[in-house]
């Protein structure tokens, strides 16, 4: 249970930023 919580929390911390980086790359590529 504890590992699941830590794993989930880690994803919540890291993934939005990673996804955001990808989305920003996509937006920039579309603009170019």
């Amino acid at each position: 249970f504890d590992e699941i919580i830590v794993d989930l929390a880690t994803k919540r911390k890291q993934y939005p930023r990673k996804i955001l980086e990808c989305v920003i790359k996509i937006i920039k590529a579309k603009q170019e």
């Binding site: 919540r12 939005p16 989305v23 937006i27 603009q31």
Partner: protein
């Protein structure tokens, strides 16, 4: 406001003080009565050593945990974050458990920026095209004007040509 790190140290100190107070020398000699009666000085020394060792071990453990979890920096960072947000009274947002929903708010500002940038591009291009369209219309008028001039000149020369034919006819007669 006391820093979280200070609070942690104070809490552990209090825990230790109370634990030691609970395990008083009186209590210790009560439990080890037979040995105490035989060796009172030794009992005192063993008790003192016991308490010192227990405190040392506990404090070392806390230091290890602080080092492992980088607690010093992390707790100070949390103090800063809490300080910055202290004026906020209402409950803050918490993950909803639906990642796509939570992610929407993260991404929206960037998509809004993209839309605004696109709107600026479109407006700029529309304005440029209005200018170009003006230039094209002026160019068309210019072409039309030149065509009319050319037409007029061509007709004049046609008239001349007829005049020349007429002259030739007259001369030939």
């Amino acid at each position: 406001t006391i820093s979280r790190l200070k609070l942690l140290d104070t809490t552990v100190d209090t825990f230790l003080q109370k634990l030691i107070a609970a395990g008083s020398y009186q209590r210790f000699t009560d439990c080890y009565k037979c040995f105490y009666q035989l060796q009172p000085e030794m009992t005192q020394r063993i008790y003192d050593k016991f308490m010192t060792q227990l405190q040392t071990s506990v404090r070392e453990e806390i230091s290890d945990i602080k080092a492992e979890g980088n607690l010093e920096a992390v707790l100070n960072a949390l103090d800063t974050i809490a300080e910055e947000g202290k004026d906020r009274k209402e409950l803050a947002w918490r993950p909803s458990g639906k990642p796509e929903e939570d992610l929407r708010s993260t991404l929206m500002p960037y998509f809004l920026q993209q839309r605004d940038a696109l709107q600026r591009c479109v407006r700029k291009q529309e304005a440029e095209n209005r200018q170009l369209a003006g230039a094209v219309l002026a160019g068309r008028r210019q072409v039309e004007e030149l065509q009319l001039q050319g037409q007029a000149q061509w007709q004049a020369w046609q008239a001349l040509h007829r005049g020349q034919k007429e002259l030739v006819a007259v001369l030939r007669e």
